[in-house]
Each structure stands twice: as C-alpha cells, then as structure tokens.
C-alpha cells in the first residue's frame, strides 16, 4: 500500500515554488516539538556526556583532557571486555529463546480462535504490564532457596533444589527472567503481523496439499520475516544494554553478580559507586558504539528480509 507523491506539475511559477518551500517549512513545524525535546534531553546530554568522556578525572589529581585515550583504555579494559563477552553470550541464548517462545505462541494463537486461546494470549502478554523491578522482585522470591517453591517441587522428585542464584546457575536464571518478561510483547508483534496475512494464501497452499506445519514454516514465517527482524533488532539492542534485571537481582545474589557484570552496570558502578563519572561516560559511549555496530550490522546482513528502506 505504498503511496506515491502526486507528481507536481512542472510549472515554475513563483507561487508554486514558494508553495513547496512553505510546505517544507510546515513539515519542520510539525516535527519541531519532538525535535526540541529531542535536542534538550538527548542531543545536549549526548554531547555533554561525550565531552565528559574525553576527560580523565582521578580521585587524587583532578580532571584533565585526555581525548580518545579514554576510549583506548575502555576497549582494553578487561572488565568492559568481559562484560561485553557476557552480554554477547546472553544475546546468543536469550534472543533465540524469546523469539522461539514468541513465535510458537503466536503461531498457535493464529491457528486457534477459541476463548481459551484468547485468554492465553492475554496471560502471555501480562508480564509486559509488570515493571521490570517488580518482576525481578517476584523472581528473587521464587528463586529463594527458602521461600521459593523450588524446594517443595524438587522434593516431590526426591531431589535437592538447585541454588538458582549461584554463579554457576545465575546465567540461566537471568535468561528465564528476561524471557518471562519480554516474550509476550514480542509475541504480540509477531501475532499482529501474522493476522495481516491474507488467508487466501493458506487456502491455495492447502489445495496444493500442504499441511499445517509446512504452512507455518514455509509461508507464515517468511512472510513475517520483517517483523521478526525488528523483534530481533530490538532484543539485540536491549540485551547489549542489559541492566535492570541483573541490578535488581544483585540484592539477593551480589556474589554471583558483581557490580561490573554487564557493561551498562559497569558504567553505572563507575559513576555512582566509584565517582568516576568521566570514565563511566566513556564506557557508556563505547557500549553505544558496540550496540550501533551490532544492530546495524545485523540489519545490513538481513537487508533482503527486513523490509526497511
């Protein structure tokens, strides 16, 4: 349903040109409110923060300009690099997990139209209504060796409940929390995309003998590939910036989750625990660079399927 601009008549009267110019100005006017806020709360802070990242401020000796040396320090900082490796690993596991859950749920919902499926849809989406802080609070209770149900459930099988908050298990515990929190949202996006496919296509496929599985994998999934790419891109950006869930769980698992567990947490700790605001800015921008490369790289690799211009 792309629309094309009605070809402007080639008349070169002054009135028409000023009409075009006037319209351009009006365009800016419409965009202006957003741009003002954008400039104030994003551009200005960005520039300021970038400026901060070029200075080095030590506790003992004060601030001095070091230019890009800070960035050199960041990209050779084992804590930053370690954190990057971690979030990359999380991305490799968490994104497929969320995508699979979202996709399976969406496909199931697309096939069913009962009240049960509608109720399920709402329930699966419900975690989106829960602030991440409260979600993490709930899971910190559920993971608790004492108060969580794990103890009683595992006892039924005669096993000892694992400690979900130890350094060996914290990875999967966090994957679980994030999957729980966000899969519903991605499911809705995919489901909406599925709903907009013309059902006539399925009919044609069935006549040709395709079964449900084939329809799902060979028709539906390719047709919503641009939605899925969008989901993956947002999930990627979010995972690389992983912050809130591990921070909230730190209150019950500070052994397994050190303050520099992810690059974003590291930036936060540098700023607010160790008072190193300049280096914190550097880390944050370095992370932004990685996110930029990662997400645009991904979009470039999938440029055929993602439907973006």
């Amino acid at each position: 349903m792309t629309t094309h601009a009605v070809a402007a008549p080639p008349a070169r009267t002054g009135r028409h040109r000023s009409g075009i110019e006037r319209r351009q100005r009006v365009g800016w006017l419409f965009v202006a409110p957003f741009l003002v806020i954008f400039a104030a709360f994003l551009i200005f802070p960005l520039i300021y923060a970038f400026g901060m990242s070029l200075f080095s401020s030590t506790l003992a000796t004060g601030t001095k300009f070091v230019g890009l040396d800070n960035y050199l320090k960041a990209f050779t900082d084992p804590l930053f690099l370690g954190g990057l490796g971690r979030v990359a690993l999380y991305a490799l596991v968490m994104i497929p997990a969320q995508l699979v859950v979202a996709l399976v749920a969406a496909l199931l919902l697309d096939n069913l139209a009962t009240w049960l499926s509608k109720a399920s849809r709402l329930l699966i989406f419900a975690p989106y209504a829960i602030p991440v802080v409260i979600g993490a609070l709930m899971w910190s209770f559920l993971y608790s060796p004492r108060f969580g149900p794990a103890g009683t459930i595992f006892e039924l099988f005669g096993l000892d409940a694992p400690n979900f908050l130890s350094s060996g298990t914290i990875f999967f515990s966090l994957v679980n929390v994030v999957t729980w929190q966000w899969s519903g949202y991605y499911m809705i996006v995919i489901y909406a995309a599925l709903r907009s496919i013309d059902p006539a296509i399925y009919e044609a496929a069935r006549i040709d003998g395709a079964n449900g599985w084939q329809i799902a994998t060979r028709i539906k999934v390719p047709m919503i590939s641009s939605s899925m790419i969008m989901v993956i891109t947002f999930a990627l950006i979010g995972t690389l910036q992983f912050f809130t869930e591990p921070t909230v769980l730190r209150s019950v698992a500070s052994g397994a989750l050190p303050a520099d567990y992810t690059p974003n947490m590291y930036a936060f700790a540098l700023a607010f625990s160790y008072s190193q605001f300049n280096y914190a800015s550097t880390i944050a921008f370095s992370l932004a660079i990685v996110v930029f490369i990662g997400s645009f790289g991904f979009l470039f690799l999938t440029r055929k399927q993602n439907g973006l211009k």
């Binding site: 419409f30 923060a49 296509i201 044609a204 084939q214 028709i219 919503i224």
Partner: protein, 319 residues
C-alpha cells in the same frame, strides 16, 4: 511440487491447471479432508495444551504475587508459596498501606498515574505531529534526522543521566514531577510507528484534494488526517503510558523527596529498607500487596483494551 511462497501464491491460485485439481478423485479428496479435520482436532487439543502450559508459565509469578499480597509478613515466610494462608490478611495489608508513613503509598500510586498520563499524552501528541511531519512532508534533512532519532535508542541511559540532571537542575525542576515527565515525552519508537502508519494509511491524494479545496495545513491535519490515524494514536498512547509507568531508573535518579516518587521507586525504597539493618523496618507484606495493587491498573487496562494492542502493533512490521 513447490509449496507456494508469498510471491507465488496469488499467481498459483489463478494458474493452477484444472488437470491438477481433478487428479484427486472425489473420494480421495473427502478422505483427505476428513483426515485433515481429524488431525486438526488432535492438533487442536495439542495446540491448546501447549498454549495453556505457556500461559501457566507466564502467570506463575503473577499468581505468586496475588497470593503473597494476601499474607501477613510472618505468613509470607512460613506458608507455602502458591497457596493462601489467611486471605483476610489482605485487608490488614491494605490498611497498613494507608497507615505506613502516613499513607505515602497512595501518593506514590497517584504520582504514577499523573506522570504516566501526562507524559503519555504529551509524548503521543508530539509523536503524532512528528510522525505526520516525517511521513508527508519532504523537507531537507528529513532522512538524516529520522535516522538519528532511531539511532538514539542505542545510547545507554546511564550516560545521559548526569547531563539531564544538570539541565533539569538549572531550571529548578529536580525533585519535581517535571523531571520525570519532560524526558519521558521522548518516544522515538512512537515517532517511528506513527510515521509508518501515516505513510501507509493517509493517501497523498486526500491531502492534495484538501489543499486544493483551500484548507490550511493544520486544518487538513486535524480534520482529515487525525481520524485516519486513530488506531495508531491509541497504540502509541498506550505504549507511552506503560513505558512511563514502568520506568524506574529515570525517577530514581531525578527524585529525592519520597512524596514525588512513583510507585516503582517507592516500593524499591521499602525493599531496601526491609533488607537492611540498623533502624530499618520490615514491611514485606506492604511490599507485596503494594506491588500487587500497583500492577492492577495496567493489567486491567490490558484486558479491556485488547484490540488496540493487537491492531496497533502491526504497525511498522509489515510493509
């Protein structure tokens, strides 16, 4: 035999030779249909079961919260996690929410409402205007600006907190609701959604016609364009409201006075207080019941406004 793909399918409908269709006899087709329906029936049950299992997984923590909200602190630590102990304790908890620290919980809840609605509405208005501007006006620099907006989501908030704090503090807005509302007016994703939706559902011809009729740009926008954008507007509104309601880090950084806190930050304060020692207080029952009450508004609105979610999130995903 090629399974029809997206591009091929419509053609296949037209071009399927009659010979292929009559290859299957009537009986064979009937059998096929019966098998398919039977398989579908079995698959239907299987699908439902799988769906229900998934739904249970997502509901478990919420159920836990609901049950926990009905318990007193003592019973929270002694009774099993997933079933009630003495549900009447819920009313004691609610009473506690009114008493504790002079009922500050309800102030928090009110703050959350105000911040979300004000910034949600504001962000939507701004996004609708901007989306329209990007979609329908070809002004210089449009692409660049739009790209910059999308790229902006890549910068972690941690970098921006200090400068934002300084800016707001210059105008004396720190520690007021504006410190949360103003930055929350920024919703790049909302602008993106509105732009795509506007592009797809507002034909240029309509705008031209309106201009030829002599209507001004603003008039055209309000009388012709806005009604067409209604579903998208509602979706962006809902997304913005939810985003601000659930926001934690921004109010944590900008607000100090307990009476300005939204409910997310307020409950977190109580949580820290309950975990720590030295003059702290253990208010676990208030935390759980407070958390439960605070998620009710959003959960209920999700329930009542379902069709907007589904409709709106199509936007921007399928061209």
């Amino acid at each position: 035999m090629a399974i029809p793909t997206a591009e091929v399918a419509p053609a296949a409908l037209d071009a399927a030779p009659r010979s292929r269709r009559t290859r299957l006899t009537r009986e064979q087709r009937r059998d096929q249909r019966r098998n398919r329906l039977a398989a579908q029936g079995g698959r239907r049950i299987g699908s439902h079961v799988l769906l229900i299992i998934m739904a249970i997984y997502f509901v478990i923590p919420i159920w836990w919260l609901f049950v926990a909200a009905t318990k007193s602190t003592g019973s929270l630590f002694s009774s099993p996690a997933f079933w009630f102990d003495n549900p009447a304790a819920f009313f004691t908890n609610v009473a506690g929410l009114f008493e504790h620290q002079n009922g500050i919980y309800w102030t928090w809840l009110g703050n959350s409402f105000v911040y979300s609605f004000v910034s949600g509405t504001g962000a939507t208005i701004v996004a609708v205007l901007a989306g329209y501007g990007f979609a329908k006006y070809r002004f210089k620099g449009r692409g660049f600006v739009f790209g910059m907006i999308l790229g902006s989501v890549m910068v972690p908030l941690t970098a921006l907190v200090i400068p934002q704090f300084m800016l707001l503090s210059q105008y004396g807005l720190i520690n007021t609701g504006w410190a949360v509302i103003l930055p929350s007016l920024l919703n790049p994703f909302g602008v993106y959604l509105m732009r795509v939706y506007t592009q797809d559902s507002v034909p240029d011809e309509l705008l031209e016609a309106s201009r030829i009729d002599g209507a001004g740009e603003w008039r055209t926008f309000t009388t012709i364009v806005l009604p067409l954008l209604r579903p998208a507007i509602v979706t962006v509104l809902l997304l913005s409201i939810v985003g601000t309601w659930n926001n934690f880090f921004l109010p944590l950084a900008m607000l100090t006075d307990p009476r300005t806190l939204p409910v997310t930050v307020g409950l977190n304060r109580w949580l820290t207080l309950s975990n720590a020692g030295a003059g702290g207080e253990q208010v676990w029952n208030l935390i759980t019941s407070g958390a439960f009450i605070s998620v009710l508004p959003l959960l209920l609105s999700f329930l009542l406004l379902q069709r907007y979610w589904q409709g709106g999130l199509t936007l921007g995903s399928v061209k």
